[in-house]
Amino acid sequence: MSPTIDSTIPDLQVINAVVTRSDLELFEPVSFNCTRGQVIHMVGQNGVGKTTLMRSICGFRVLHSGQILWDNKDIEKNKNFYLNSAYLGHRDAHSPLQTAWESLHFYQQLYTPGANKGDIDPLLNKLDLLAQADVSVDHLSFGQKRKLAIARLLLSERKLWLLDEPFSGVDRAGRELIENIFVQHISSMGMIVLTNHGRLQNSQLLGCVSELELFQHNIMLKEL
């Protein structure tokens, strides 16, 4: 699906990104690259702007200044970027009227039309949600919803995962499971950009992690 791989060019480049909220710059300009097999772990105190930056990387928000490139092209209207990445935010993105199975089926159809329905049950099983397959998403517990969102990521088969606190509300066993899933994703040349307040524990995963710390800045807006 992707063009020939030139491994010298990082796939995702964030260059001097500055985001603002009500005319305040949140943190000092941030630059980082993310190449295949790499995990970028964004850390920073509450309110430093991790979610805001993440939403900018998704192209939902416009950066105040700086650039975000995918394969050396700006991500704005860059369909190639969007078709190679998947996003999980603070909200789980399940429509409340569907059951767990239906929600995954819906996303499967969106990501890879015509894919095999049979793949969904094993996936639910993997995340320990098989018993909840026919429960309305609305009725899942806090952690179950989060796990279902992780199942969606797996379904998407995308290279770049953009994850905002993927572990929040997930139990201990689930946490280990998800870290294992990350390891698998990374070892098949995937990329992950995530925020998380706890420490990652899986030693294999830790080998690929670069920590990116955001520092609070809060200076007045400079002239463009």
């Binding site: 939902f60 078709l83 909200r91 789980d92 399940h94 429509s95 569907q98 996303y107 969106l110 998407s156």
Partner: protein, 223 residues
């Protein structure tokens, strides 16, 4: 492209049906408003016939407006809307599918029920026919224009009523032509002009509204 649209359309219909009252509700609302007027006014035959077309049109319009607020909200608040950006599906397609589902499940039943209401207001056969034709041409315009408003007010706390203020002025022309036709035909006047105007409005909004809506949707993800 068509199959994506169709799939989205089916999903939305299924959701509306699952919520059950989503289809029933605007319909009931329509019936209730229509029946409030004879209560508030009087049961005079002449009077009812005179105001019948107008009242039915206004009721349809208000009922649709009540539903419009919800058209994108569920998906938006759950965070599903932003996920569409990461797929082949465009927001324009999403908007179109949602508008179509909305129309089928709220406007269509009202059009089907309109003759019953018309009879209750002592409209004659011709008037009822024109009423239905008008509604068939007019309600898509209402749904399309309304969807723009719904998308614009998506990330506002007070969306509901603001939406009403934004779109009612846009709805006015449809109402004027639609209800005007019913009274015109009651007086034996021709209604071709209004019909073609309604048709023109429909095609006009069909060709522009989905894009405006998808632009507004994208904009409301910026928070």
């Amino acid at each position: 492209m068509t199959s994506t649209l169709y799939r989205l359309f089916l999903r939305d219909c299924k959701h509306h049906l699952r919520k059950q009252s989503d289809i029933l509700n605007p319909l009931c609302f329509f019936v209730i408003i229509c029946s409030l007027f004879p209560l508030g006014l009087s049961a005079d035959r002449e009077l009812l016939n005179t105001i019948g077309g107008g009242v039915i049109w206004v009721s349809v319009l208000l009922s649709m407006m009540m539903g419009l607020n919800q058209i994108f909200r569920d998906d938006y608040e759950a965070g599903v809307l932003e996920q569409f950006l990461f797929t082949h599906t465009t927001l324009t397609q999403v908007a179109l599918a949602k508008i179509a589902a909305f129309w089928c499940l709220s406007a269509l039943p009202m059009i089907i029920l309109a003759p019953v209401m018309g009879t209750a207001y002592h409209l004659n056969g011709d008037q009822i026919l024109v009423l239905m034709m008008g509604l068939t041409l007019g309600t898509p315009t209402l749904a399309l224009l309304g969807s723009i408003g719904a998308a614009l007010t998506l990330n506002l706390k007070n969306g509901g009523v603001l939406l009403a203020i934004l779109i009612l002025p846009l709805f006015a022309p449809v109402l004027i032509f639609g209800a005007g036709m019913v009274s015109a035909v009651g007086m034996g006047l021709p209604v071709n002009a209004q019909l073609s105007l309604l048709g023109a409005l429909m095609f006009g909004s069909l060709s522009l509204a989905p894009f405006a809506t998808s632009f507004a949707l994208k904009n409301s993800l910026d928070y």
